[in-house]
């Protein structure tokens, strides 16, 4: 139903919709309009538009090198597209640095994990709350009342996230010593600690075994369910994508070749061709 390329033609732009499992999805939270991103001569993204709705789990899929991570980097401000507009919460976003995007309530994880390896799990997750801490530099330096109270409050929130993601046993462990699967989980915890409006996950399950994948899927669903967090995620495992996501954008060679519910996407000929490796013309 909505494989159109421009959001203006998108029949769902106004209200929102109800998912098959009965969750209410709201209006547009983030909208990418005609994004084009080049690296020198290489076009990583070519004229792509799509939206992400309030409360939705939105997947971005596609073969290797399709431009998925690049798209996430555009959303989070790490890459600046040559063309196109980014709209967030109904406003066109001026060019922003990644830290400014983060302060707008957009948190992310990285495909190759970017944690503070020398810091403990607890400290890593605490950094996620930096944007929410209000006391000024002098108060902090003198450890005046507000700074101390703030630290305690934020510690409590972080402990809740630690419980939620079941990583109590490694709270004090330096992140550098953790196995890969747990690192991925800590990175998710740090992103969650920011209480984001929009959570971006770049291959949250890559390199995990089946059991770890199941855990991670459950966490993602729970985050969306309990906190109402909007999530955009990149994932290669089709089974996982079909289970988790409400709508899917499919990219191939920097272009959008499909956009719709998992069922729609699965039956889309262009998508099938891309995944079966049918030659491009």
């Amino acid at each position: 139903m909505n494989l159109q390329d421009t959001p203006q033609d998108n029949p769902m732009t106004a209200e929102g919709y109800t998912t098959p499992d009965g969750r209410k999805i709201g209006g547009v939270l983030m909208e990418m309009r005609n994004i084009t991103l080049r690296f020198g001569g290489v076009k990583a993204i070519t004229d792509i538009s799509f939206d992400i709705r309030e409360g939705e789990i939105r997947a971005i899929i596609g073969p290797n090198g399709a431009g998925k991570s690049s798209m996430l980097n555009v959303i989070s401000g790490f890459y600046v597209p040559q063309e196109g507009e980014v709209w967030f919460r109904g406003r066109k976003r001026p060019p922003m640095k990644p830290y400014q995007v983060a302060r707008q309530g957009i948190a992310r994880t990285f495909q190759n994990i970017a944690l503070f390896e020398g810091m403990s799990v607890l400290d890593n997750i605490m950094t996620g709350r930096l944007t929410l801490m209000k006391s000024g530099i002098l108060q902090q330096a003198m450890w005046w009342g507000r700074a101390e109270r703030e630290e305690t409050e934020h510690r409590e929130k972080v402990e809740k996230i630690i419980d939620f993601l079941e990583i109590q046993h490694i709270r004090k462990t330096p992140v550098g010593r953790l196995p890969y699967g747990l690192k991925k989980r800590v990175e998710l915890a740090r992103a969650l600690a920011a209480e984001p409006r929009l959570l971006l996950l770049d291959e949250p399950m890559a390199g995990m075994n089946v059991e770890e994948k199941e855990d991670m899927s459950r966490f993602i669903l729970d985050v969306n369910d309990e906190f109402g967090t909007t999530i955009a995620l990149i994932e290669h495992d089709m089974g996982v994508v079909m289970d988790l996501s409400d709508r899917v954008v499919v990219m191939d060679y920097g272009k959008k070749i499909g956009d719709g519910t998992p069922d729609e996407v699965r039956n889309n000929q262009a998508v099938i061709d891309a995944y079966l490796g049918v030659a491009h013309d």
Partner: protein, 328 residues
């Protein structure tokens, strides 16, 4: 015989105290290196600049007086005030923050993502610029600095140790103050970095820039913060050293001793900077005392560098530095 023993002990104590100065300069250096990977050649000159500014502000010197007089034919010399030490120190701390902001805006901002060697060259340029600026602003003469720190040999220690050991130790009271202040400084820096949000942000940036950006940390703010702290540490070093031997341009030479200290202690370790400074301070005094006479003296000029060289060969990561592992 016991007298030689006590004398050697006294020499090493005095060496320790001298080492505190090296430690302070090395500490400022480590702070910047850890956070940004910048090898800040200007750290010693920062201390000199801070001390010059402190004296100038305290004595109500008009900055650039010489220049102004030469250009306009005036003869301005001073504002005619004398500030209390603590006020002058606070004002100088503000100047150092202002300097950090300027350094970020006019140097660092334009050099992001450059090779470390480029940044290193920039700090060499900065060092000579600041040295010249200090000269033009405040004049090149040796200045007396007195912010009210105790001076002279401690009589109490001399008489007590004489009673106990039959040997009176000569310990400079200023050195003792310097040691206490340095200890307090390190303790508060550690608390700041462990338990405050800015400290955590500093550690985060030191660990991984990309991850730091993703949690909303502004790198430009962190550069200003870390250069301000380094400027403050430089101010402390400048006060101690200036109170002891007057504010003069040779400080930037003493500051060069911070280099062997860093090779000993490791470029990224705060405890390393402190212990390294103490070892070098004490080592060079003892070496001069025992070996100096055999080799014609003046060993203090080279001892630190040779010790550092030995460390480079046998333990390149320093005493406390993280082991250097090539990532493949």
């Amino acid at each position: 015989m016991p007298d030689t023993f006590f004398y050697a002990l006294e020499v090493s104590l005095n060496g320790l105290m001298a080492g505190v100065m090296y430690s302070l300069v090395a500490l400022g250096f480590v702070l910047i290196f850890k956070a940004s990977g910048i090898f800040n050649y200007a750290q010693g000159v920062l201390a000199l600049f801070a001390a010059l500014t402190l004296v100038g502000l305290q004595n109500g010197q008009v900055p650039f007086a010489h220049l102004i007089n030469a250009v306009f034919g005036t003869s301005i010399h001073g504002f005619g005030w004398q500030l209390p030490g603590i006020i002058a120190i606070l004002l100088t701390a503000l100047v150092m923050v202002g300097l950090a902001i300027l350094i970020e805006r006019y140097i660092l901002k334009h050099l992001v993502n450059q090779e470390p060697i480029i940044l290193f060259m920039a700090t060499i340029g900065l060092a000579y610029f600041l040295e010249g600026l200090g000269d033009v602003m405040w004049g090149a003469d040796i200045k007396k600095l007195d912010v009210g720190l105790p001076q002279g040999i401690s009589d109490a220690i001399e008489s007590t140790t004489y009673e106990w050991f039959g040997y009176g130790f000569f310990i400079d009271r200023l050195d003792m103050v310097a040691a206490v202040v340095a200890a307090l400084l390190v303790a508060s820096l550690t608390l700041f970095s462990q338990y405050t949000k800015y400290g955590r942000a500093l550690r985060a940036v030191a660990d991984d820039h990309q991850a730091a950006l993703s949690v909303g940390i502004s790198l430009r703010f962190i550069w200003v913060l870390v250069w301000s702290i380094a400027g403050f540490v430089a101010l402390v070093a400048g006060i101690m050293w200036g109170s002891k031997s007057g504010v003069q341009f040779s400080l930037s030479l003493i500051a060069l001793k911070a280099l062997p200290v860093l090779m000993l202690g490791g470029f990224t370790s705060i405890p390393g900077a402190i212990v390294g400074g103490l070892i070098i301070g004490m080592g060079e005094k003892l070496f001069e005392f025992f070996i100096g006479p055999l080799v014609g003296g003046a060993t203090e000029n080279w001892f630190a560098y040779v010790l550092a060289l030995l460390f480079l060969v046998f333990r390149p990561q320093g005493l406390f530095g993280e082991k250097i592992i090539e990532r493949v």
